[in-house]
């Protein structure tokens, strides 16, 4: 942990002393950092890594971005990111080449971030959005956050309406953490599109993402799958083989004014993988500015319809079959069932043009028998899936 925080202080102190300040007209360095502390009101579960002891090691991070301009058309960008959370990988977050033939067209190729939700591609840049913790029902980590591939973006206008259209295609191969369990996920052929329009203060966004061939490696399941096949339950074994397509659809609306804003997003995720569920999630945020201070409130919700695995194994015939039966039951409770309602109240104070102090409290209300984004034993009936998360933090861009 000390080593991880040493990296943070190295990055931020280099910027503080101007060591990584702009070195030439062609090469520019910039970056962002955040220190976030949080406390969860219960000791029965964890939420976003927080438990009932104050911690700054879940959401704190620092990043350096280098942009090199070759000429009027070509440039290259790279972003090195350091996370305090040991379960998230630190390293190269972005690395891409840009070709911009004119003001309307932009093409990128390399390692890029997936642009599905309004803040998906800047989820680590807390300065860019009002919350400390963007609504987890939509922004949780198991959507594919980055890809290696290419995108094309077009900016246009018609009278007072401006619009952008983006198409992307690529592959994803990374470790994903969900409810404290990590798994290797490989997606061959991920593609999607985003259309954003704005008229005066109004914004409208639709986005889709399709993952043709998603393969999830869960080593813990392999002995069970082999046991089921050996015992003649091939159909049940097939449902545990996580391989198939998934699709996401997003609709977002918003209005920004001098004194207040409202923004809302709704996402629907569908999957043909038996044990992964369909998810419907949404949030609405209202914010009001009092000079440099923003007060905001967010209501968010998610509903997951889980396809339970049929358990055709007869019980009471032999100890081996009994063991298989209980193993399948165990697996049924292994996959996340993230039904969660939340209310978040927060404040943001921009006390410098590049520094913001934030504080927020989230009232979480999950469902009994479900994981509800908590890290817990799903059979724990003592915990009523209600908790309060308190957070404060500082956001910095440089």
């Amino acid at each position: 942990m000390l080593r991880r925080f040493a990296s943070f202080f190295l990055i931020t102190s280099l910027f503080s002393h101007g060591v990584l300040a702009d070195t030439s007209n062609d090469l520019e360095f910039s970056g962002f950092a955040r220190v976030v502390g949080g406390y969860l009101s219960t000791d029965e579960a964890k939420y976003e890594g927080y438990d009932n002891s104050f911690s700054v090691s879940q959401k704190s991070l620092a990043a350096v971005q280098a942009d090199y301009t070759f000429n009027d058309y070509f440039s290259m960008s790279g972003q090195l990111l350091w996370h305090s959370d040991e379960s998230r990988q630190s390293g190269v977050e972005w690395l891409y080449l840009t070709y911009q033939p004119n003001a309307s067209w932009q093409f990128n190729i390399g390692r890029l971030r997936t642009p599905l939700l309004k803040f998906s591609d800047v989820i680590d840049v807390g300065f860019a959005y009002p919350w400390l913790n963007a609504p987890q029902q939509l922004y949780s980590g198991y959507l594919f956050s980055q890809y290696e591939g290419a995108n094309a973006r077009y900016l246009g206008y018609y009278n007072e309406v401006t619009f952008s259209v983006e198409l992307y295609w690529g592959n994803f191969d990374d470790e994903i953490l969900s409810n404290g369990t990590s798994s290797d996920v490989e997606v061959d052929g991920m593609f999607g599109g985003v259309i954003e329009t704005s008229y005066r203060g109004f914004q409208f966004r639709v986005a889709t993402s399709f993952a043709n061939d998603t393969a999830v490696e869960l080593d813990e399941l392999q002995p069970l799958i082999q046991g089921l096949r050996a015992a003649g339950f091939g159909d049940t074994a097939d449902t545990l083989d996580i391989n198939g397509a998934s699709s996401s659809y997003l609709l977002g609306v918003g209005y920004d004014s001098l004194n207040w804003f409202v923004t809302a997003e709704i996402i629907k995720v569908e999957s043909e993988i038996d044990v992964l569920a369909a998810i419907d999630s949404s949030y609405i945020t209202f914010g009001y500015y009092f000079d440099e201070i923003l007060l905001h409130a967010t209501i968010a919700s998610s509903r997951q319809s889980l396809n339970e695995i049929d358990n055709p194994i007869p019980i009471g015939f032999s100890p081996e079959l009994d063991a298989l039966y209980f193993a399948v039951e165990e697996v049924n409770s292994y996959f996340p069932t993230d039904d969660l309602d939340s209310l978040t109240l927060g404040a943001r104070w921009d006390f410098r043009t590049n520094l913001a102090f934030k504080t927020e409290v989230s009232f979480l209300k999950g469902k009994e028998g479900k994981t509800s984004f908590f890290e817990l034993d799903v059979n724990n009936t003592e915990f009523d899936r209600r908790a309060t998360l308190y957070q404060l933090g500082i956001e910095w861009v440089f």
């Binding site: 932009q106 860019a128 401006t162 001098l258 043009t353």
Partner: protein, 139 residues
């Protein structure tokens, strides 16, 4: 502080605030073609990184200046903190870069004069060199 001093202070503060709110901003460009009119929404679009028929490159005055606050309030229609977070999103998502920034009005006049097809904002009444044209005046 006597009551009279306090009353005078409040009155003078109120007059200052009223005077400040009456201050107007002109949007000025170094045009290469014949002057054309430009709407407030088009100016907003240019300064928020969008494309427009005018094909002008925006120049802003650094944060903290009164003229910038008036421009943001009356033309962009967003508070300073929202504009800063918007540009953080554009920059770190690789979508766009914020406008060129100058430190004061003198530098703005110099930059606009030296760079064709640039557009910026200045306080009304300022002396303008020949290549600069007023395209818009705020209320």
């Amino acid at each position: 502080m006597s009551k009279l001093t306090l009353v005078l202070f409040i009155i003078s503060f109120a007059f200052c605030a009223a005077a400040q709110s009456r201050e107007r901003v002109i949007v000025v460009a170094h045009l290469t073609e014949q002057p054309t009119s430009i709407s407030k929404s088009e100016i907003r679009n240019i300064f928020m990184g969008g494309v427009s028929e005018a094909k002008l490159s925006p120049v802003e005055i650094a944060s903290g200046s009164q003229i910038r606050i008036i421009f943001n309030t009356r033309v962009i229609g967003l508070p300073e903190s929202r504009i800063q977070s918007y540009w953080a999103q554009m920059k770190f998502s690789g979508r766009n870069q914020p406008p060129v920034s100058v430190s004061n009005t003198e530098e703005m006049v110099r930059y606009l004069t030296e760079n064709e097809a640039s557009i910026g904002y200045l306080p009304e009444g300022i002396a303008l060199p020949e290549p600069l044209t007023i395209l818009f005046t705020t209320n």
